[in-house]
Each structure stands twice: as structure tokens, then as C-alpha cells.
């Protein structure tokens, strides 16, 4: 088990943790860009999804968006973001990765938010209108809180996908934890490849668990203990990246 001894040595060596190419900085880059991309994608995807879900328009569009999104491999999105970024004069590294991550996060967030709003019990919405609530009040006080578990799940699902795909940013000359994998491959250094794989896997699982926890904490008090969409609630549409 020479190999695993070398892996342990890699982790034990303090020099591998610090500096620009150290584990700490690579993790920070990875988390930072993922969070930034998610923030931008949320701002683009969620408001129109809320509006369309509220008005009930655009159902076919919502379904198609996620299906098309699923068919385009995340690897292809990253690769295609490169010429786009260069055409826009944004160059290599950060921008193509950012563009790819935003493009990747949009479909699941849009569709799942839309579905979440649509699935709110029409009887409740009707009752709210009957009480004289305006359309805006219905959306902000009734539909959004009731759909919040689904919307938060959508954010989690997209975030896991974004963290996973940020790894591929190393192929367009960006940093992040993918550097270990891509550099390891090109240098034939399996220890580095393995270390990168473990770190990315841990980060993805941590993202999933952390956002799952946030999700449970953020559910409105009135909904706790009730499974809003029934016991067989399906996970929002998502894919591995």
C-alpha cells in the first residue's frame, strides 16, 4: 500500500496546504467561484420562475428547459464557454468557468422553482384571493413560503452540480480543486489525481449536506413536520456533473 502512504504524506505535508497552489487556496477558489456563480444564476433564474409560476404561463417552456439542460453534457458547456468567453474578450480562466457554471445552474433552478410555485394547493391560493389579497401578496405571503422547501431544494441541487462542474474549470486554465486532477493527469502523477478526486468528492458531499441542513432549518414553522408534497416527494430534477 505504497500508494496510500504517499497520499497520506501529501496531506501531512504542510507545504501542500498553503500558498497560491495550496489546498486551502484551491478550496477557497472553488467555493468562491461556485458561490458567486450560484448567486448570479439565482438572480437570473428565480424571479422569472416565480412570476411565471404565479401566472401559470410558460409550463411547456419550463419542462423543455430542464430537459434540454440535461441533454447537454456539463463538459460540453464548459468547453463551449471558452470560445464564447474569448469572443466576448474575456479570455481564459475565470470567465469561461463562470459563464459555464451560470449556464449550468439556470435550468434546474428555473424549472424547479416554477414547479414549486405551480404545485401550491390551488385551494389555498383561491382562499387567499377570496380574503382580498393582491396578486403580489398571494405570491409573497402564500406561494413563496409554501414553495420554499422546493425552491431551496432546487438551489441545493444546482449548487452540487456547480461545485462538481467547477472542477472542469481547470481545463480552461482556471484554478480550483480541479487543478490537482488535471495537472496530475498531465504529469502522470496519480497521487495528485487521487488527492484532487477526494477533495472534490468531499466538497460536493459537504455542499449537499450543508444545504440540506439549511433547507430543513429554513422551512417555515407552519410547514415543519408536514411533508408538503406528500411522502413520495421526488427530488428536484438534477444530474450528475
Amino acid at each position: 500500500m505504497d500508494f496510500f502512504a504517499e497520499v497520506l504524506e501529501f496531506f501531512a505535508d504542510g507545504a501542500n496546504w498553503v500558498g497560491r497552489t495550496g489546498i486551502l487556496n484551491r478550496t477557497l477558489e472553488h467555493v468562491g467561484l461556485s458561490a458567486f456563480s450560484m448567486a448570479v444564476a439565482s438572480l437570473i433564474a428565480i424571479p422569472p420562475a416565480l412570476f411565471l409560476g404565479h401566472t401559470g404561463r410558460g409550463g411547456l417552456f419550463a419542462v423543455s428547459v430542464v430537459n434540454i439542460g440535461r441533454a447537454v453534457p456539463s463538459f460540453a458547456i464548459v468547453a463551449l464557454a471558452l470560445p464564447v468567453s474569448i469572443k466576448l474578450g474575456l479570455g481564459l480562466g475565470f470567465w469561461p468557468t463562470f459563464l459555464a457554471l451560470v449556464a449550468l445552474a439556470l435550468p434546474p433552478m428555473f424549472t424547479n422553482t416554477y414547479t414549486g410555485i405551480r404545485e401550491v394547493d390551488p385551494g389555498t391560493v383561491e382562499a387567499a384571493r377570496g380574503m382580498g389579497m393582491t396578486g403580489w401578496e398571494v405570491l409573497s405571503d402564500i406561494e413563496m413560503p409554501l414553495a420554499s422547501p422546493v425552491i431551496l431544494a432546487a438551489v441545493r441541487v444546482a449548487a452540487v452540480q456547480v461545485v462538481a462542474t467547477a472542477t472542469l474549470g481547470a481545463l480552461v486554465a482556471w484554478g480550483g480543486l480541479g487543478r490537482y486532477i488535471i495537472d496530475g493527469f498531465s504529469q502522470g502523477d496519480n497521487v495528485e489525481v487521487f488527492v484532487g478526486g477526494v477533495l472534490v468528492a468531499l466538497l460536493a458531499v459537504a455542499t449537499q449536506l450543508l444545504l440540506g441542513w439549511v433547507e430543513r432549518r429554513a422551512i417555515p414553522a407552519g410547514l415543519r413536520g408536514i411533508n408538503v408534497a406528500g411522502p413520495g416527494r421526488v427530488e428536484p430534477a438534477r444530474q450528475v456533473a
Binding site: R70, F75, L82, V160, T165, T167, G232
Partner: protein, 224 residues
């Protein structure tokens, strides 16, 4: 300098495509084979695990928990963890690809079989069906639309993931995407991406047709 090279070129150079039809066809075949093996093995494993979960309910939670964690691990990370153990091989690619089909398939198989109307099962028992005959002749056929919905998601997902396996040298059409990135040649990136999407759509259409032929009593529904 390299960037200038990218700026000057058209999105797709059709002469390159015309010169490389053989390579594209070979990569498409490799892509299909990798996808087919993953789906076949994944389906067999999922059926076995689903039957276990249905017979012994308590195993369902741990099964979905473990396959769920597997599903969360990014494909490139999983390949990277496997490479030191199983090398740059088809085996490495397939372990990952099969792993990612499990969660989707098991969920849909169990949900499909659970969804069979209890009255129908009761009628079957009343008619003297054994457990095995009921499973094969009643439950599985009635669950087929939900099972095929799972196979559709799994196949689209797998076709996408095969492209990532290009990084470990077994990527079918992903090879072109990787080559295009390395040489700053957009034609190859577009060919890899478009062909892979086309493959996903084609397989999806075939699966919808298969479902309509196998279960003429239901209409295929769009899955989200």
C-alpha cells in the same frame, strides 16, 4: 497568440468535419457501447437491489442513502479516485457510469412497483398467482412506464457523463471536446457537443417508442 487563433476561426470548419467522418462515426460507436454497458449492468444491479428493497423494506433507506452519496460525487472526482486502483481503463469508466445509474433506476423501479393498484394484486393472489408470477406478469409490466421513465433519465445522464470519461482516455465523443479544448479548435468542441446531444435525443426517442410499444395502454408522459 493561441487566442488570436481562436478568434480568427469560424465556429465550425465543415472541411474538417468532412475529413473526419470516420473518426466521428467510430467515436459515436464507442460512446454508444460505453453507454449501453453502463445501462445494461446498471439495470441488472438496480433490479436486484430493488427486489431486495421491496422484499425487505428496511434495506430501502440504506440502499438509497449509499447510491445517493455516490450520485453526489462528481464524475471526474470518482474517476480520479478510481484511476490509481483500476487504471486508465474501460473498467474505471464503467464503475463510475454504472454507479450513477443506480439511484435513478432503483427509485423508479421501487416507485413503479409500489404504485401498482393493491386491488389488482389482490385479484392476482385470489386467482392463485405465486409471488414470482405476480412480480413478472403483473407488477413489472404495470410498473413499466415508471421504470422506463427512469431508464430515460439514466440514459441521458450517462451519455453526458461518458464525455467526461474522455479525461481518462475512454470518452467516445468527449474525445473531440477535449481535443478541441487542447488545440483551441472550436469545430471539434461543437462536433463533440452536438453529436452527444443528438445521441441523447435519439436514444430518448427510441425509449419513448419502446415504451409505447410495450405499454400501449398508457401514453408516454414528459418527465421533469
Amino acid at each position: 497568440m493561441i487566442l488570436a487563433q481562436l478568434e480568427g476561426q469560424p465556429l465550425v470548419r465543415w472541411d474538417w468535419v468532412a475529413d473526419h467522418l470516420d473518426d466521428i462515426w467510430a467515436a459515436t460507436k464507442e460512446h454508444l457501447v460505453l453507454t449501453g454497458i453502463a445501462l445494461g449492468v446498471g439495470l441488472i444491479l438496480s433490479l436486484a437491489l430493488s427486489l431486495l428493497a421491496i422484499r425487505y423494506r428496511r434495506t430501502y433507506t440504506p440502499i438509497t442513502w449509499i447510491t445517493g452519496i455516490l450520485y453526489t460525487i462528481p464524475s471526474l472526482a470518482l474517476f480520479s479516485i478510481l484511476v490509481p486502483i483500476t487504471g486508465l481503463s474501460v473498467l474505471t469508466a464503467e464503475i463510475g457510469l454504472v454507479g450513477y445509474t443506480l439511484l435513478i433506476l432503483i427509485r423508479n423501479i421501487v416507485a413503479g412497483i409500489d404504485g401498482v393498484d393493491p386491488a389488482i394484486k389482490e385479484a392476482a393472489i385470489g386467482m392463485g398467482y405465486t409471488r414470482r408470477r405476480m412480480l413478472l406478469q403483473i407488477e413489472v409490466p404495470l410498473a413499466l412506464p415508471v421504470i422506463i421513465a427512469g431508464v430515460r433519465i439514466a440514459s441521458v445522464t450517462t451519455i453526458g457523463l461518458v464525455t467526461v470519461a474522455a479525461l481518462i482516455g475512454k470518452g467516445g465523443l468527449g474525445f473531440f471536446i477535449l481535443q478541441g479544448l487542447r488545440r483551441f479548435f472550436t469545430t471539434e468542441i461543437v462536433v463533440g457537443a452536438v453529436m452527444s446531444v443528438a445521441l441523447a435525443v435519439a436514444i430518448d426517442v427510441l425509449l419513448v417508442l419502446a415504451q409505447q410499444a410495450l405499454t400501449p395502454w398508457v401514453r408516454a408522459k414528459a418527465t421533469v
